[in-house]
Symmetry: D3
Subunit: 244 residues, 6 copies
Amino acid sequence: MVIDVHGHLTAPDSLYVYKANILSHRGSHGRGKVEISDDEMIAFLNEPTFNTGKSHLELLKEVGTDVQLLSPRPYQMMHAEKPAKVSQWFIEECNNLVAQQCRLFPNVFKGICGLPQSPDASPKNCIPELERCVKGFGFVGCLLNPDPSEATNYDVPGLGDEYWYPLYEKLVELDVPGYIHGAGCRSIRHSYSTHFINEETIAVVALASSRVFKDFPKLKIVCSHGGGAVPYHAGRFQAPSLRR
Amino acid sequence: MVIDVHGHLTAPDSLYVYKANILSHRGSHGRGKVEISDDEMIAFLNEPTFNTGKSHLELLKEVGTDVQLLSPRPYQMMHAEKPAKVSQWFIEECNNLVAQQCRLFPNVFKGICGLPQSPDASPKNCIPELERCVKGFGFVGCLLNPDPSEATNYDVPGLGDEYWYPLYEKLVELDVPGYIHGAGCRSIRHSYSTHFINEETIAVVALASSRVFKDFPKLKIVCSHGGGAVPYHAGRFQAPSLRR
Amino acid sequence: MVIDVHGHLTAPDSLYVYKANILSHRGSHGRGKVEISDDEMIAFLNEPTFNTGKSHLELLKEVGTDVQLLSPRPYQMMHAEKPAKVSQWFIEECNNLVAQQCRLFPNVFKGICGLPQSPDASPKNCIPELERCVKGFGFVGCLLNPDPSEATNYDVPGLGDEYWYPLYEKLVELDVPGYIHGAGCRSIRHSYSTHFINEETIAVVALASSRVFKDFPKLKIVCSHGGGAVPYHAGRFQAPSLRR
Amino acid sequence: MVIDVHGHLTAPDSLYVYKANILSHRGSHGRGKVEISDDEMIAFLNEPTFNTGKSHLELLKEVGTDVQLLSPRPYQMMHAEKPAKVSQWFIEECNNLVAQQCRLFPNVFKGICGLPQSPDASPKNCIPELERCVKGFGFVGCLLNPDPSEATNYDVPGLGDEYWYPLYEKLVELDVPGYIHGAGCRSIRHSYSTHFINEETIAVVALASSRVFKDFPKLKIVCSHGGGAVPYHAGRFQAPSLRR
Amino acid sequence: MVIDVHGHLTAPDSLYVYKANILSHRGSHGRGKVEISDDEMIAFLNEPTFNTGKSHLELLKEVGTDVQLLSPRPYQMMHAEKPAKVSQWFIEECNNLVAQQCRLFPNVFKGICGLPQSPDASPKNCIPELERCVKGFGFVGCLLNPDPSEATNYDVPGLGDEYWYPLYEKLVELDVPGYIHGAGCRSIRHSYSTHFINEETIAVVALASSRVFKDFPKLKIVCSHGGGAVPYHAGRFQAPSLRR
Amino acid sequence: MVIDVHGHLTAPDSLYVYKANILSHRGSHGRGKVEISDDEMIAFLNEPTFNTGKSHLELLKEVGTDVQLLSPRPYQMMHAEKPAKVSQWFIEECNNLVAQQCRLFPNVFKGICGLPQSPDASPKNCIPELERCVKGFGFVGCLLNPDPSEATNYDVPGLGDEYWYPLYEKLVELDVPGYIHGAGCRSIRHSYSTHFINEETIAVVALASSRVFKDFPKLKIVCSHGGGAVPYHAGRFQAPSLRR
């Protein structure tokens, strides 16, 4: 069985209209909601998408994927947006749509949730949404963005830091993996695409040189994009001159 | 003839999908473009909108409007977004859609353009877009947002300041009015809705206590929302104790 | 009986000499004190004031005021000054002079105290001065400045926020109203005079869209300057499109 | 003949009422003016002052001073206040009063002006006021505050830096000395009184280790408060280990 | 017996190589250690030093010093460096070398430790190192730097503030004095050399005008460099006009 | 012939003592100088180094290197240090030692200079040092650090930006390559070692998606560490979805 662990949500336009709206009124029109009927969603997943001439479901079949783990599109999550509730609402809506697609196609999709991370809040604030998705929807993991600041500063502690322990503890308790995946990038120097790779490099090195897996022997972590640059530079990171 | 000077663009979803995308990739996928065929646009303007059960064109008829001046939706313009090009691209696309609607319904709509204002740039940078819209599309004025910082600081000079003179000069040269209208608000204390009123109050008092109309006797300025709080407090602002 | 709820302290020069001094030594000469004998104060209130050719007491008679609620001059309170004790000392002295005038003319004046608000401190820190004035001097209310930052930032929570609850609780306990009145303005864009109006607009909307009066059904709030822009724009704020 | 080079202005209350007012309205009531008639000023200088039981003129006689150089009170100058015009207006008014006292008592007083220094402006901006006082009033020097930031940062270049050259050039041209004297202090760590000494220490060391007197061989500099700590620590500053 | 209370560590090059290294890798190579054998250290202290042609021990003899209190070189301590552990490690190494020299020459040297002060941490964080040195090595006091910010801001509370009480309490408990000595200076306006004097002036005035010796009657404080400017300006600081 | 293009300076302790000193006095003891006689330097290069038991020259032989390009150790360069002259002096001394080793072993070493880059200065300020090394010493290239901020912000423009053009122009004129190599890292999230890789990834992508090689067809750029992550992720960066 072929399982694609790295699939992202393909969503109807109304998700992005919702996003544009909450970014404009910044909460003053209230939280709102994205509503797509099951019929609309089924139709949507069978329509051509992303200028490929094929639908999401057809593309899966074409490449031989049996099951796809589906998560919100990371570069859309805007973890550094203020007020944080704007980002949180959007991520919740993304997770709702992932849940809807999983419910409609239970043999094809399994959910991975986005978390309402924020550079100004402890990862503790992500636990309610994580529980809602795993316990409520049956999701099988969550995205873990090592840099919720979206490249606006260098101050968020690395993944080896105790800052992240409340989240690790909950992942162990729920017995689901954290899926490391960079997200938005607001730097003028690069784009989300290189930021993904760089953050995943930092994340793997930070974990590998930390006590995290000693402190949480049952923690499961998966890293996207081939572990950033780490496998390519493995020799370098193992050189004695860099060992502490 | 009834002319509504204060109409905003009703746009298909693809404008907002475009906005959500450029805010996510922040320019790294390139500028892109919103494309709506004339047929789609004509159909769209005849479909029910904003949960009213009626189309934009029907609503105009119902209230007896003959001609409507159409401008981008101010609270969507995101003048304080960084990089500034993201806001600029979006505003250009809004102006393009306004131009398309004006071209399709020349007896109904006249265009008022949004400007790519930014708290970090002189209003001089708005002149190319202003000229593109007035000379190229036949627009009859532009929006003037007194606070492009979107309530993130108190440092943008008031409309009475020479900071704004390059724009005033161009408005006089093109012989079109500037239409004062507040825009986005990122403060936690209030919403764009009160920010509109407050900024318009500041704007009118700033202009009235300045040399602007002495220096530009042919400048035409229109203020939305009844001049903010000024007419209601006219006596206060005329009291001797407040005169310099 | 005509009661003027919006009177401010007319004070002898020595109050302002005191203010200029503490602003210069910033506390290093100690707190000091403004001392005006009762005879001096009575004489002062009967001397012409503010270039009107008439005394404060004569002006009251002339316009038919029977009782005047007397508070510190808001634009003098300097809530954003640092160190905060400089502002606190000045406000205490203002309250002392208000108390002295109330004691000397008990049928004419009732006291409204200023509070040592600060953008860096919880409103909790105002409770001792509020109690000193209400319990000690018999004052009948306090000024409530919605923006102690004096327009230096947009971060102070709106009056609908729980940030203000300790003060509301004490107002209910003491059974005196809070009197909303803007204060100093350090923005380059406008002056205290428009800032008053704008802040009062924000304050009324913030309270009206909050749970404050549900949580404190006995809280009494009065707003100066006709409620900012709110009555003039009442229709706007009641429009369905702005309702949450 | 005994000349006291270090006298500061003793001024009537109205100067400080003026200061308190412009600090409160921050310019929005206009510049205003302190007006004291010659008769009032003569009377004032003959009245007891500063709780000494003696007048300014009597105190001069008592200690045997024949001529006193009179300058604004440094700790009142508020060079770091914003907007800078508030500080500038106050200093101009101080200089006007110094000029009035010099005109009324030409054998007793000679003027030393304060300058509208600002941490955000080049010392160049002080030249018009310096010329007004020296050419217009016959003043014989100016105060030189080495730290116009009033201890809010450590960024103003030392007196040995070319930053100060426009002012030195003008002092040479007008052939009047600069009188080094610290001014206001907004630090929480100390008061203007120790700040004076510390800044004068920095100033003397900065000048002594610079090219200033090579570049301006005719520049005259006087330092108040015995040169800060320099004479006491002269040996230290001459030690080879500290020489470059 | 002549006791020099103000001696600083003369150390072999490897201390500074260590410092340059931890400043470059900023902790990523681990803490490391400076290792100098007793034989090397004895040889080093008998070699000519500081371009004097004489050794540290010879210089002591030459000037007639019997016992020298030895502390880390203050201007090397880099209290404001980030991450703070870099400064802490270096100071611990300095203290170790002081301890080694005291152990090797117990009749000549007594130790005074540097403390891992930081502008971002309470002085509480210095207690473990103070105890390690006094209890473990028999040191007889510690350096006290009044400005761990190294002249990068004016926000560290003065020595009269309760901020310092945890340290004072421990000094009393251990019955050793605190030795006031300025340290590094990152201002562009002056150098560590004037900063020493200025900070010591601030420190003495702050203590003298505080409750510290009332609250800690057994606290022993020694001040280097002749008390900054205080003895020279003693009259000034005792003048009634400066008394609170 | 085997040429190692990526060798860094092995230097005697006195270079690091020099570095520790200028970081401590921050320029107030003057610039100073590292002086190592030719005999000392020859001896040093033949002594065991870096705990390998072998000398720099022996190590070259052992691995079969004929010629080594020698540059300053990048993680020591401290481009973000303030004042910038401290970093500049150190880099000049490093370049001097590289020049000395090249002069002493002309068949073995060729020089690559470090540049006095700074996050607060245009790369233009590096031209004099580049010319001194290439024209004066015969160096064959220079290090190019894409992030002189040392991971303290994300604001330095990427290598594709015109910000770098003055340097590119000079490299073309002198006909020497720029050697991309990350340098110091002050972030708490990672170390210089991952920062190297990440910055090189950003640099290669920035150049590849820019007009630099169109505008400077003769510019030669070499990238260290295998091009960061780029070769490993080449497919990703060539994917259509990422093309503009």
